[in-house]
Amino acid sequence: MKANVHFREVLNNGTGYYGLLALLGAIVLIGLGAAYFMEHNGHFVTGMNNEIVWGMPHVFAVFLIVAASGALNVASIGSVFGKSQYKPLAPLSGLLAIALLAGGLAVLVLDLGHPDRLIVAMTYYNFKSIFAWNVMLYTGFMAVVVVYLWMMMERKMNKYTKPAGFFAFIWRLALTTGTGSIFGFIVAREAYDAAIMAPMFVIMSFSFGLAAYILVLMASFKWTERELGDKILYRLKNLLGIFVGAVLYFVLAYHLTNLYAAEHHSVERFILLDGGIYTKLFWIGQILIGGLIPLAMLYHPTLGKSRAVIGWACALVILGGMAQMYVIIIGGQAFPLVLFPGMEVSSSFADGIVASYTPKLPEYLLGIGGVAIALLLVTIAVKVLRFLPESLADAIVDPHTASDAKGTAKKAA
C-alpha cells in the first residue's frame, strides 16, 4: 500500500503561498514586537501582577505545548499501533508537533522576566524542579521527533520507524504528564491540588492536538489542490469526537472528586457557580463551545459529513481548549489562597478576595505570535521537504476498499 502514497513538497509558487508566508511572518513580527515592549518596559505594561503571575501568554503557551504532544498522535497511531491508513499522515503529524512546541516555548521564554538569561536556564539546573525537567522534556521531544521524522522520510531508515515512533510516543506521554504536573505540584492552590491533573492534560492533548492537526491537514490539502478522501477525514473526525468526549469525562471526574473533598468545596463553587468570568468560560467556553457543540457537529449524521462543519468543529475544540486553559491557569490563581481557614481576611494585598486580571493587548499579541510561529514553521517546512502526500484519495489510502474501516493493519510491501 505504501507504494501508492507519494510525498511531494509544495510546488505552487503562486501569490497564495507567499501571501500566507507574508501574513504569518507579519504576525510573528508583531508578536516579537509585543515581547520586546514587555521586556523593555517591564511587566507593568501587562495585566499580570503579583497575584495573577501567569497570564494570557501562559494560556497560549501551555495550550500550544499540550497541543504539540497531541499532534504527534496521528503518527503514533500509524507506527506504534500499526494502523497503516494513518502512516501517510505521519510526517505532517511530526512536523506539526515540533512546530507547535516551538511556538509554545517561544511564548513561554519571551514572557520571562529575563529572556536574556535563557542560557542561565540551560546551565543552572535544579533537579528537584519539575520545571527544569520540563525544559529537558521539551528539548528532548524536538530531538526525538526529528529523528522519528528522519526514519519515516528516509527510505533507507524506514525499518527503524516503529521503534522510533514508539520512543516518541512514550516521550510525548512524559511531556504532557510533565506539563500537567507543573500545576499538580502546586500544593497550596486549591484548584491544582488534584492527582488527576496530569492524566487530564494527556487526554486534553489528544483532543487539542488532533483538532489542530485536522485543520492544518484540510487547509494544506485544499490550498495545494491535493485530494483528501472522505475515508481518512471521517476516521480522523470520529477519533476527535472520542477525544472530545474523553476530555469531558475527565473534567467531570476532576470536579466530582473535588466535590468529595470538603476542603475543595469553595473552589468548586467558584469555578462552577459564582466565579464570574471563570464560571462563564467554564460552562459556555469549555463545556458548550469546546465540548458539547463540536461533539454534536462531529457525530451529526448529515452535517458531520460536511467539511466546513468538520473544520468549524475543530476550531471550536481549539477555542474551548483555550477557555479551559484560561479557567485552569488564571482561575486557579484568581481564587484566593486559604491561609486562615474559617477566618475572613483582608489586607492591602487582596487577601481573601478574588484577584482581578484583565489581559492587555501585548499579552494577546505575544500569544498569537506564538501560534503564528508554529504555522509559519509548517508553511515553510512543507515547501522545502516532502511532508505532504500527493494525494489521500480514498482509493490510495485504502486500496482494498472492500475491507472495512476498522483498519486491519496491512503490512506494506
Binding site: 527544569a132 497550596a188 490563581q333 486559604v338 491561609l339 481576611v345
Partner: protein, 253 residues
Amino acid sequence: MTHKSEINSSRRQFLNGSAIAAGLAIAPGVMLHQVAQAKPADQAVTSDKRWGMLIDTNKCSKGCDACVRGCQTENGWGENETKSGPNQVAQWIRKVELRDTSTGFTKSLPLMCQHCEHPPCVDVCPTGASFKRADGIVLVDKHICIGCRYCMMACPYKARSFIHEDLQDQLPVAPRGKGTVESCTLCVHRVDKDGENAIPACAEACNAEGHEAFVFGDLKNPNSRISQELAKHGGTQIRADLGLNVGIRYRGI
C-alpha cells in the same frame, strides 16, 4: 572571603553570584557593589542555627503598619515603583486583618516570607535561584533568577513579588532588578552582621512604636529568647497542615 572553604555551599553560591555581579549594572545607574556580605568572613553560615521569628499577635495593633514601613525603608521597596499598578508593586511584608466569622473576634498580623524549612519556592525554581541557606533563611539570587514566577505560583503565603519595572535608587543591602523575584530576606544583612543580637527592620520599627510584637532569634538554641518563649507559650504556624515547618511562628491566632 579568605576562608572560602569553610563557607557552606549555599552561602558560597550567594556570594559568588554577588561577586560576579559586582560592578554589573542591574538597572541604569545602579551598580551592585556589595550584596549582603557584611558578615565577618570567619563566621560561616551554619546549620547549627535556624533563624526565625515569633510574632505575638496580641501585641500587634490593628491599623498599625510600622513594620511594613520599617521594612520598606530598610530594603528600599514600594516607594520607587511608580509605574506598577497596586497589585504589581512589591509587598515583602503586609498587614492582614482577620475576623472569625462565627465569633466576630478580630486579629491583625504581619505576614511575610515564612522562611519554610521545606520551601516550595526552592523546590520548584528551575534554576536554583531560590535557595535556602543552611541557617534557614530563604533568598533569591537575583543574578540567576530568570523571572519565570513559578516560585510565586508555589508559595502558599503570597510572600513573593515580581519586579514589573526598571528601578532607580536601590539600597546596597537589597539589590533589586526588573524581571526578577524578591521577598523578605529576614534582613539577612543584619543577621550576618549581628547574629543572635540582630533585629530585623520590621521588629525594630515595631519596638519603636512600643508594641514589641516580634522576637527574632535562633530556633535551634534552647536558651534563645525565641525558643524559651515558644517553650513556654507555644506558637502557631500558618497553614501548618502543609508541613513546611516555617521559621515564622505566631502567637494568639
